[in-house]
């Protein structure tokens, strides 16, 4: 029996196990929407903006490990997804984005709502397609899911001309045959053995765990390696949760806003084992001065990540989980080193660094410190929540003052740093885990970038919590201006911030506010009890800065720390 392109799309989504699609309708996708109308297998979540749809699909993907799916119309619908696609691309997140397109015969004519979305998204997708023949449709969708979720994951876009969704064809579900796409999963055994011997000889090793550990589902294998060979572990922003933040061997995050002890350990190390991470400039600081004494073992599924920025002594191309499984085996069965004695001095040194400069902030009785809010969230949830973030100071404090013990509980836009990511991502994660506490740790600037999604949360009964660290500033920008631009606060003050409590009410959600430190805990407790979306407006100290901080381009052990405040806190509170 022949069915329409629209029906083929839905049948294919069903076969891929995509129960939820985030989307927004428009002219050229009406046939697809019509087929969704009475479909029981695939549910569409109507967002209030296409950017919201993409980030929600992304949050869904990060929380579950499955591909997130979005469906939008042509032209403006499609172009509104670009930021979200680029966000997913930079962080290697699997998405399948279905965009409508004008009918095939009108393509290239500057037709109504035509945009060359395949051309526009070519550099920010892993792959993209323009479907020209309904007979190719199911194969292309199958390929898209395959490409999005295998190897180094990433977003794939499929552009669907309206006539293709109307045309009819027999439904087929062909075996995939892609001669030019074959990711490498197994690491080279000889290289892995080299790595094992390098580890055996090292006196001051450090593991840097990145987003690849989470994408690969390799937390268990990583922990086994760290514990067996007694190697301290630091994580990139994307790697948080890949290794338990509460583990004695955890050094927390490294890099620009990393911990003192993580950056110190990396700089002093004689061996770095970089696992599923890509040596971003936020991580390395000045490249020439990075880890000057260290040999580097680098495990990554994408050969382009290796030797892109940093010299490597033992490159291993492969999937983290599989490589670590072999590495652990070689270490236990062939190397058989006992590390207890060897590591004593190094682990002692690290303990000293931890004691010397732990992550801290100055307490205040009068004004809420944003770090305190994050600490309280951690304390009250006992770490059992999914945290998403916006971008800026809020994101860095959320990375520093909450300990992530499990993978896929920390969802943050790292590579692109997209303000407006956290709230829709929280909606996507909440949809995937209806019974989990999902909290967006937000800034007052960022939350306004996708605030319209509050309607999506309310209507779909998704009880996401948003903790706004309201400093009335684009705080991260203000911090740079204070430290590096002679306190010239050029357009970083937000002047008018909406009344977030009233705003939540206007959407039939709940709004709560805390203006004093003593109110923080009661507000959080109340919010966590409410089975509805809640905006919490924490009016925090606007002068607060994120420390430690490595100035851009400096070596990562050149860190700035909080200076003892000269003026009393009280005066700093007033801002008009």
């Amino acid at each position: 029996m022949k069915i329409s392109g629209a029906e083929i799309i839905i049948e294919s989504l069903k076969r891929e196990g995509a129960k939820h699609v985030f989307g927004y309708p428009g002219g050229v996708v009406l046939n697809i929407f019509d087929s969704l109308y009475d479909n029981k297998d695939v549910q569409l979540i109507l967002t209030r903006h296409e950017q919201g749809a993409i980030h929600a699909a992304d949050g869904y993907a990060r929380a579950t490990g499955k591909a997130g799916v979005a469906l939008v119309t042509s032209g403006p619908g499609a172009t509104n997804t670009v930021t979200g696609i680029a966000t997913a691309s930079m962080d290697s997140i699997p998405l399948v984005v279905l965009s409508g397109q004008v009918p095939t015969m009108l393509i290239g004519n500057d037709a109504f709502q035509e945009a060359d979305i395949v051309g526009i998204t070519r550099p920010c997708t892993k792959y993209n397609y323009l479907v020209k023949d309904v007979n190719d449709l199911s194969r292309i969708i199958k390929e898209a899911f395959h490409i999005a979720t295998t190897g180094r994951p990433g977003p794939v876009l499929i552009d669907l001309p309206k006539d293709v969704t109307v045309a009819k064809a027999e439904f087929t579900w062909p075996e995939l045959d892609m001669r030019s796409y074959k990711p490498t999963y197994e690491g080279n055994k000889w290289m892995i053995t080299q790595a094992a011997h390098t580890i055996a000889k090292a006196k001051k090793p450090v593991i840097i765990a990145g987003g690849g550990v989470i994408l690969s589902g390799a937390s268990k294998e990583l922990r086994e390696l760290a514990e067996h060979a007694e190697i301290p572990v630091t994580m990139t922003l994307m790697g948080l949760g890949g290794f338990p933040g509460t583990h004695a061997l955890s050094l927390g995050m490294l890099g620009m806003h990393g911990t003192y002890y993580a950056n110190k350990a990396v700089q002093e190390s004689d061996l770095l084992i970089a696992i599923g991470m890509r040596f971003d400039d936020r991580v390395t600081g000045k490249v020439e001065a990075f880890a000057p004494h260290a040999k580097i073992v680098h495990i990554d599924i994408d050969p382009t990540s290796i030797r892109k920025n940093i010299r490597v002594d033992v490159p291993i191309v492969g999937d983290v989980k599989r490589v670590l499984t072999v590495l652990n085996k070689v270490l236990k069965e062939e190397v058989k080193e006992q590390w207890d004695e060897v590591r004593k001095a190094w682990l002692k040194q690290i303990e000293d660094w931890k004691a010397e400069r732990p992550l801290t902030y100055t307490w205040s009785d009068e004004v809420i410190k944003p770090q305190f809010v994050v600490e309280k969230i951690y304390e009250l949830t006992r770490g059992d929540a999914i945290i998403t973030t916006e971008v800026g100071q809020n994101q860095m404090w959320a990375a520093q003052f909450y300990k992530y013990d499990k993978p896929r509980t920390w969802l943050s836009s790292g590579g692109l740093g997209t303000m407006g990511y956290g709230f829709p991502a929280a909606i996507g994660a909440q949809l995937a885990f209806p019974n989990k506490l999902v909290i967006d740790i937000a800034g007052d600037g960022s939350i306004q970038m996708n605030i319209q999604e509050l309607a999506t949360a309310v209507i779909n009964k998704l009880p996401v919590k948003v903790a706004i660290l309201n400093n009335r500033y684009l705080g991260m920008v203000r911090q740079w201006q204070e430290l590096f631009y002679n306190e010239r606060y050029s357009y970083s003050h937000l002047d008018v911030v909406p009344d977030f409590v009233e705003l939540a009410r206007a959407y039939s959600a709940v709004g709560l506010r805390a203006t004093k430190p003593s109110e923080v805990e009661p507000v959080l407790k109340e919010a966590f009890k409410i089975h509805k979306p809640v905006f919490m407006d924490f009016v925090v100290n606007w002068k607060e800065k994120v420390y430690p901080m490595v100035p851009a381009g400096a070596p990562i052990d050149h860190m700035l720390f909080e200076e003892p405040e000269k003026k009393p806190e009280k005066k700093l509170k007033a801002v008009k």
């Binding site: 070519r122 792959y127 030797r307």
Partner: protein, 162 residues
Amino acid sequence: MRHTISVLVENKFGVLSRVSGLFSGRGYNIESLSVGETIDPQVSVMTIVTTGDDQIIEQITKQLNKLIDVIKVTDMKELEHVEREMVLVKVAPKQEDKAEVLNITEIFRGRIVDSSQKTYTIEITGDEKKIEAFIELVKPMGIKEFVRTGKVAIAREGVKKK
């Protein structure tokens, strides 16, 4: 260092822009690029001449390999190979230089493919050195314009690089 990279790709629309987009997006330089079908009509070959230090060339080949439509990437530097390029040169020599132009064309085993009252169009095929030498020689006699195809390259069979 200059490298000639041969890239086998799926013969689909959009592939050329994926490859050229990779170069422009990452700031790599393309000196010349030629595309054509291979013996398998579903496969095209691109010959790209680019420059960069070892690290850049390594990234270029890795990034090319990463493109979904790329089947095989060969850096010709690693192989004994033959390279050829064709150029069409339109010269407008003075009356007294005409014989010399024909003479040089003969020496370079070129062919006159078109002529008018004032001009000759000459086809020359060869490696880069030969083409450069030809252009240098006829330049003083008045080149109006020339077009080059860009290089194509093929590995030699059964010959290992020393």
